[in-house]
Structures are given as C-alpha cells and as structure tokens.
Amino acid sequence: MESSKTLTAKTGNWIEENSLTKYELTLNQNANIYRKLVGNYVNLVNHSTLPNENKESAKLESHLPEFKFPTLSNHYDIVQKKFSKKVQRWQGVVTKFDNSTFEARLKDLTNGGTDEIAILEINDISPEDKELLSVGAVFYWSAGYHMDNGQIYKRSDIRFQRLITLDSEEFESALNNVDILLAKFKPRDFDNDASLNK
C-alpha cells in the first residue's frame, strides 16, 4: 500500500474513473499494471537480505523508474464521455387528453414561425409528470442528439412545467402593480352610454 501511495504522489493526480474516456481507461489500466509490478518489487526488497534501513519504502523511490502519464487535456476536450445537444425545442399547451393520449398545440421555440399540433402518448411522460396533465398544462418538449460512452443516439424529452410559487415579496410587488395599472384607467364615461342617451 505504501508503495502505491508513493507512486500516486509521483505520477500526479488521478482522474476519477467515471469521467474517463475509453482512451484514458486504457492508460489507467497500464498504470495499474505498473502499480502491480512496483508492489512485487517492494515485496521482493522487503523479503530480501538487504539491511533494514534500506527496506524503508521512502528510500525505494530512487530505485523506481519514473512514470509519466501523457498530457490528456487536449484529448479530453475533444472526446467527452457524455453530451447532449438539443436541436429542436417546443413549448406545448395541452388542448385535450384521454386515458392514453394527449393533444397539444406546439410553439416552435427553435425556429419560430408556424405552430404544430401533435398527439402524444401519455406513456411517454414520466410518472410524476402524469399527475400534471390537464387541459392548459404547459410542457417543454426537446429532441436532439445524446452521446454516452461513444454511442450517439437521438433522444426526446418531455418535461411538464412545475409549480411556480410567489413569495411574500413577489406577492406584495403584484399588489403594488395593481395600483399602477389602475391609475391608467379613467372613470367610466356614462354620458356615452347609449342607454342613457336615449
């Protein structure tokens, strides 16, 4: 274990495995082989006839060959393990629904222009979102490309708009705004009412 620590310190920071690309994993496997070899070497030294002071692991460092990982930064920028690219987004408003499907008018958030009308399956929405399904409910639908472990595939996501609450400050601000809006109204001009003119 000691030698392993020493090795870690000598070779720089480890990259967490879940963020490694395939290429980086290969490098990591090589490092593990190297670590094993060093371990064997340490064991060999510890069980040898060398004087005790020479058995100190710290002193072993000088006997070990230097191992350096290649610089990964440029490579890492190009090849990431995961990415998603939304290429089409809509805002939908549910116009009607039944037990298995719902109809929605879709506003194109990517290109603007004309609307679309679609019938979607309720099974395509998550169980939590199913509870939000009602006429007038707003959802966002996105379609795009997703890459995972080097595999690229198309992906569609539907997410219903969640609860938006107002805190007391925002409620206060809404109340104040009423007075501003109200100031723009004139008293009704009943002289203009035809019923009174007649």
Partner: protein, 363 residues
C-alpha cells in the same frame, strides 16, 4: 401588396383572417377618414400584425385610428394588439367591461409576476396593452348598449355600438376571476377562461340607413340573460333597420347560429363573412349549407385544409420526431382578406366585395 385606399365617400369593413387559430382582425373605415381596428392577429413568420401591414399598404395615417377594440381574450384575437396600440397614437383601447376592475387587474398582475419566473402567461398581451397607454390615452371598458365612437360627417351619423357583454355575463366573469385568483397557487397552467366567447363584444356599425353587424365570437347559448339571446330581447341600440353585412360569430359555428338573427336583424341575402378555424374544423359543412340557405354571398378568408405533415426540418430529425409521436402536423399559415366597400352618400348602394390572397366565395 394591397394598395388602393377607399374613396372619401366610402365606408369599409375588411376582415383579415388566417384560419388555423392564428386569428382574425377587422378594420373599419367610417366618415371621411376615421378608422377602427377590432382584434388583432399576426403573421407568425414576421410577428407583425396583419392589420398594420394592410393599413400601411393602403397608406392610412395611423393617427386616424380612433379605437382598437379587443372583443375577448382568446389568443386568436389578441396577438399583436400592443404593437398596434404603440403604433396608433390616438387610438382608444376598448375591451369588455369587468364589474370589479381592481380584482381583474390583480389577476393580471399575479399572472405577470408568475410569468417573470418562467410560467407561461395568458394575460401578458393585456398587460402590454395597458403598459402602452399613457396619460392622454386611456383604456375604455365596454359592455352592451354603449357607444364606442360616434361622428357626423357629410350630414351622416356614424356610430359604432357595443351590443355585449350583458350585465349577467359581467357579473359571472367577476366570480370567475375570483376562482382564477384562488387557483393561482396551483401548478403552472395557462389561464383558460371557462367561457370567454360569452364575454365577446359584438358590435353594431350604424351609418345613415345602413347597418353592419359584427358578431365576434359571441355564442347564442341557452341563458336568455347572455349572448345573442340577451341582445335579441334587450338591446337598446338595435333599431328596425336591418344589417346588410354580418361577420358570422365564432367562425361560423353552430354555437353562433340563431335563426332569429337572420329573421329579425339582417336584410335578405346579406353579405356573410367569417374566418375558418382549422383545428376545430369550423365552419362545419352542415353549417355552410345553413348559411348558404340564407345568402348567396358567403365568404371565407381561406379554405379549411390540413397540411397533415410536420414542419420541414433536417430529414433524420424529422423522421425521429414523427416516430416519437402518434401524429404531428403543421398548422399552415394562409391568410385571406375580404374587403367590402360601400358609397355611404347614396341610399341605394350595395357592397363591393373584393377578395385577396386565400379568401374565397363559397357556392
């Protein structure tokens, strides 16, 4: 581009309609050079109000727009209203009366506050309209039997009256607002008014011996205290003179049809015009037959046709989108203009109808 302005002695009633729920807008010219705009719709590609494109085309001085009226707060009648208000410096902003204005504005304000946090807003366009007003430009709430504008030119009275909403409708709307405010803490949905069509402002345009009836989306209903039933029984501004032009209510739907309107308020063979609503399949074929029994002059702003395809995108993405849903189709934007002009200085004039873009005469 439509460029010919009306003559000084002509009135004009022009319906611009898009079908597909993009909306409709009506432009009227009265007196020598006074104008009004009723409702607004936009070109989804340019986001510009179609009424503005038309008025600029025929070179109307926007200072001559006396009023902009919103008949009701449905998306197909309000898009671009605030742009119109900003562009027309002298226009009064008219909309259906509420019995408790403060409460209504509280709902608008709460909705706006929620919109700031990412919620979709249903009253945003209304808020923008109010924001566009200034000290010399007030909003005007209208209800049944009220004058929207009135002038006398060339010895002829021109008056635009509102025929609705009825007192009961205004009262019910007040209760509905209370419910909407109570519902405000709940999840994010667009505010869906229970029956906004009942709150629509129908209009009577009166000049000399002539009458024009603009039906908005006002439905007939079953309650004699609301809708067309209330107007037929209680209106104080309808006189014995019959209208020779009728903008059919609610896209020519059965809900907007009442035989008493034809029997009591319209001339024989009146000019009928309406905007189809593709997603709701309006007007239905059976209703077209009914209207053709009343008139040989039935006009639509466009055909009620479907595209049945999604919008054009990158092919592989389009394929994927089609696979992800049961069906998807583009709501195509086609707009048509039905223009009617009439010489108001003569007592025996008839309407001159001109059709532009996708507008059609139904036979």
């Amino acid at each position: 581009m439509i460029t010919t302005p009306p003559l000084i002695n002509e009135v004009e009633v022009t319906l611009i309609g898009t079908g597909g729920g993009y909306g409709e807008s009506i432009i009227i010219k009265y007196g020598n050079d006074s104008w009004g705009i009723i409702d607004s719709c936009i070109n989804p590609h340019t986001q510009s109000p179609l009424a503005l494109e038309y008025l600029e085309g025929i070179k109307v001085d926007l200072k001559k727009i006396n009023f902009i009226l919103c008949t009701h707060w449905h998306n197909d009648h309000i898009r671009g209203l605030s742009i119109l208000l900003k562009k027309c410096p002298n226009a009064e902003f008219c909309f259906a009366r509420t019995t408790d204005l403060r409460k209504f504005l509280l709902m608008v304000s709460l909705d706006h506050q929620k919109a700031q946090k990412g919620s979709p807003s249903s009253t945003d366009e209304f808020k923008k309209c109010i924001d566009a007003l200034n000290k010399s430009k007030f909003p005007n709430e209208v209800a049944c039997d009220q004058v929207i504008d009135k002038l006398n030119e060339s010895g002829i009275d021109f008056t635009i009256y509102s025929l609705s909403p009825s007192p009961k409708t205004c009262h019910d709307f007040n209760i509905e607002i209370s419910e909407l405010i109570t519902d405000f803490g709940k999840r994010s949905t667009q505010i869906i008014n229970k029956s906004p069509n009942n709150k629509s402002v129908a209009l009577l345009f009166s000049f000399g011996e002539y009458r024009v009836l603009l039906g908005s989306d006002l439905e007939v209903g079953h309650d004699p205290n609301e809708g067309w039933l209330y107007i037929l029984k209680n209106s104080k501004v309808l006189d014995k003179k019959r209208s020779s032009l009728f903008k059919l209510p609610h896209h020519g739907s059965a809900n907007g049809y009442c035989i008493d309107i034809f029997n009591n308020l319209l001339t024989k063979d009146p000019v009928l015009k309406t905007t189809p609503f593709k997603t709701h399949d309006l007007p239905r074929k059976d209703m077209i037959k009914v209207y053709l029994n009343h008139s040989n002059n039935l006009f639509l702003t466009s055909y009620n046709e479907y595209n049945s395809k999604p919008k054009k995108r990158d092919k592989s993405l389009e394929k994927f989108i089609v696979k992800s849903v049961l069906s998807i189709e583009e709501i195509k934007f086609t707009h048509g203009i039905i223009r009617s002009r009439l010489d108001y200085t003569k007592t025996d004039s008839s309407w001159n109808i001109e059709l532009f873009n996708a507008a059609i005469k139904v036979t």
